[in-house]
Symmetry: C2
Subunit: 461 residues, 2 copies
Amino acid sequence: MENTKIPYKIYLDESEIPTQWYNLRADMKNKPAPLLNPGTHEPLKAEELYPIFCEDLVAQELNVTDPYIDIPEEIQRFYKMYRPSPLIRAYFLEKALDTPAKIYYKFEGNNTSGSHKLNSAIAQAYYAKKQGLKGVTTETGAGQWGTALSMACSYFGLDCKVYMVKVSYEQKPFRREVMKTYGAEVTPSPSVTTEIGKKILEEFPGTTGSLGCAISEAVEVATKSEGYRYVLGSVLNQVLLHQSVIGLESKKALDKYGVKPDLIIGCAGGGSNLGGLIAPFAGEKFRGENDYRIIAVEPASCPSFTRGKYVYDFCDTGMVCPLAKMYTLGSGFIPSANHAGGLRYHGMNPALSQLYHDGLIEARAVEQNSVFEAAEQFARVEGILPAPESSHAIRVAIDDALKCKETGGEKTILFGLTGTGYFDMTAYEKFNDGVMTDYIPTDEDLKKGFDGIPRFEGNEI
Amino acid sequence: MENTKIPYKIYLDESEIPTQWYNLRADMKNKPAPLLNPGTHEPLKAEELYPIFCEDLVAQELNVTDPYIDIPEEIQRFYKMYRPSPLIRAYFLEKALDTPAKIYYKFEGNNTSGSHKLNSAIAQAYYAKKQGLKGVTTETGAGQWGTALSMACSYFGLDCKVYMVKVSYEQKPFRREVMKTYGAEVTPSPSVTTEIGKKILEEFPGTTGSLGCAISEAVEVATKSEGYRYVLGSVLNQVLLHQSVIGLESKKALDKYGVKPDLIIGCAGGGSNLGGLIAPFAGEKFRGENDYRIIAVEPASCPSFTRGKYVYDFCDTGMVCPLAKMYTLGSGFIPSANHAGGLRYHGMNPALSQLYHDGLIEARAVEQNSVFEAAEQFARVEGILPAPESSHAIRVAIDDALKCKETGGEKTILFGLTGTGYFDMTAYEKFNDGVMTDYIPTDEDLKKGFDGIPRFEGNEI
């Protein structure tokens, strides 16, 4: 079973940490559709984004031509704090499944934020600092992004205001304390600290919140406060750019041992991990150098790819953000309260949406009890307690490895293990106690999310 | 500031994980005093320990002659799941302190148990399995040992019954869920499931529990259940033996870069981390090959080294375990309820006690507010949220690095970062909210712990 040539954990040298991010969009034949001004429905100019985002980040957001972008030295230095992350050969899991498949996973949870989110957080904080800002605002769902941003802001001495989806705020009290330890200010969303928050609370007094709503609050505060800008942990193309370090390191580690994955699997909420993991592989695929099957895994309770529409939609519930063309459940969609963990965003990154539309990546939706079964099995044999988000990818990796067993196929599987589940024990407790429930939205449920989406040329809803 | 030759993180190759444990006692001139039968006060024979411990572990416990003991292959394989652990050069901390000192730390928190405890848990589970046992019982304080043992037992398919100190059980509800995810049965101690638990609850109805008491319960269950033995995560010499992998890896990593630490700092509760970290360095010291200053750091609220007595004492509150000669606060000692985290054991490993008695290691006691200040400072610059236990070592490392700054001395400091604080956010919350309190026991408080210790020749109390 054991290939003695390949170690359990492949660590690159510090000198092999990428010094450039890879910009997937530069190699895409069909570029993602441009962001639109929500009022005029015209493509957004950079200047129109400056009140919301840092200037350098706007440039990265709109850059669809440069394949490589230098990583500033200060960010490279910070990366050395926790990168390179290990690429792990899942020998223990392979043995437990008794599969001929060879399974690898890139583990991004070995840092205090507990996930890959730190890769982009430090970049966004860096550019905010460079622009001379006082601080940044953001939203967080499961809390990983907020924690990552708190760490990054603490490093650069920036203020950090985090709007945390209320249901997560309540399910994860300790996340708040980690953020506070790093000096952040954390507010459950919707809140009365913003106009949009007050409005949503009036309309839906019992709401458990949503990412879209928390985004609206964070954007409002950023645009109304002197010296603040808004930053986002997923969905945007700039975030995928920063997250390309995941894929670049994975590929370099596999190349060292001459390993080519047949199947690449990543969980997908807004797309930051998936987009980062697949970046250099997808690049080869576009350029016709190599072929890979790529699978996005999403929760059945928040199925943007598998049941969403490919239309222009707001990135936020408050409908103040630009319009992005993406697979979306509608910016009015709020996942069922029984949904645990992250992956609760209504939309999907525009570049990934384009790839899915073009048939270059596949998608699967999985239910959460089956996800936690996979999580527990993985934890017991691989010794890492995975985040619920990451466990979506584990579920599909296990399913496909078991298929290999049936067919005798010796596929090589690579999946992204985005983070750890130490702050998700409320969800694990439900699963341990057998009271975790599944939820698949009905078509009627889904229709509601599209109420506020603008009808204009090219937006067939 | 930055020595470009030494990376931020030194990872050994998988092939460099130790294949033998180093038995510190073999090189000690003054051997630790033997364990005594609590009834006869005569040195214990191996057979007398068999009802409590696995036979192979008894042999390791009593072995003061073999300097190296082979690590069984199955344990070596498991070590590959999370070892080698990184040795980290604290460049960020050095910069923040503006110190000429060079600081290194061995980080043992990069596994789901969150600490070094897994190094011994897997060994003890292995020998239990080898002996054909059905399961093991144990106690846990902060919960790290219980988690580690749950993981190890799950790997070998052994039953795992954990008695968790009540105050920790209440402060750390999520720890329980991690253990349950790994299939363990967790009971808050003292409990009504044992005779000794009932007795203690009658005498002290409001007690928050102690490690000594939880040990008594676990031992009672092990000795009364067919096919069970008791295992312990610290204090015992066998545990220090297994933990020597920490020091062996640290030394190998430093040797690669020709670095010799002047000062080695470890937190000390029962001594497992400290003993493991210093093992190969202390060996060189005994053999006159090299000199190192070694500092044990303990909480001012549970100051076994700095305020305890070097006498024979019970390892447990119930006084059913063997007598060990050690620095102890008395087996009746229970730390103040305001004490957060681990390092709450009344005694100290016998070998380390002998070394301290012989002046070969030093000890310092630190108060918890100052410990959490160090923890926060460390977290913010090094990006790792440390366990409260580990933060005791951080406190002294920072203090000594600042002294170097005053004197201009370029000392090299190595400390053990035993684990992460993800399950200690209740304590961090208290610190963040400014309501954490310090506690130094009075001499009167300390006297009480010695009430039940036997008076016999050589035991001056």
